[in-house]
Subunit: 123 residues, 2 copies
DNA sequence: ATCAGAAATGCTAAGGACTCATAACTGCGG
DNA sequence: CCGCAGTTATGAGTCCTTAGCATTTCTGAT
């Protein structure tokens, strides 16, 4: 049985510029996966509970920072439009897949090693 | 010599509630260290380039979330006042020291393993 | 030509962050 | 015992970023 207050540890990876300005992390990684899965920016955004306006702006900024396109957007057609990942977009998704996959074991072990010290502090 | 665009990877740890609400991370860890070093909340905040108002509010919120005090503040006296870490505050600092210390090697290795794939994407 | 529905963008409201100002506190020197 | 010093504590206005809504634009398919 858990204590009422049982804080836990978490971690996060992201890509940043040389100056430490964040470019792309977990949020966009998952968004890109949703775009890949749905074929639609709109649907992807809805599925992740995000706002279209800001997400669109953020994606634009990210692509500017990276210097290449992550997604290929098309307007018109029977379905109104569609969005697919560019090859580099696919590779970014794969990159984060690999990164988090490789990190998982280390993180589990690390947190296991540390959790006692933490819970000890929390009582 | 570096390429003009050379993004890098970074990582971060934090303590969160069971529901995933962030409680305390790198920023406050460093602030606590500065408090410990200076003996003054005011001086610590200035040394880290933060704003007193928000920092004070944030610390208050953190202590509420944790259920115990991280710092012991005193007003008055020749020096006007002072702030020191509580024993638990000290232990939180030590905890993050240990956490980042232990993680460093794994992270270095992981990022080394992944950096080629990343730079390959970036060209 | 029309339609459908997603992409794209402008505008306003809301909320949070930042700044400044000022009060409150109290150990210590005199 | 009184006042000083300077830090802690808090209120309030301003600014700025973000959220939310409304509307327009686009174009392949029918």
């Amino acid at each position: 049985m858990d204590t009422e207050t049982s804080p836990r540890l978490n971690y996060k990876f992201w890509i940043e510029t040389k100056k430490g300005e964040g470019i792309l992390g977990e949020g966009k990684w998952k968004l890109l996966k949703a775009i890949r899965d749905t074929g639609s920016l709109n649907a992807a955004i809805e599925s992740r509970g995000l706002a279209y306006r800001q997400t669109w702006d953020k994606l634009k900024k990210i692509e500017q920072q990276l210097g290449f396109k992550l997604i290929e957007k098309r307007r018109g057609g029977r379905e109104g439009g569609s969005t697919v990942l560019t090859p580099k977009g696919e590779r970014i998704v794969a990159f984060f897949d690999h990164l988090y996959d490789k990190a998982e074991n280390d993180m589990k072990r690390l947190f296991d090693e540390m959790i006692d010290e933490l819970e000890d502090i929390m009582e």
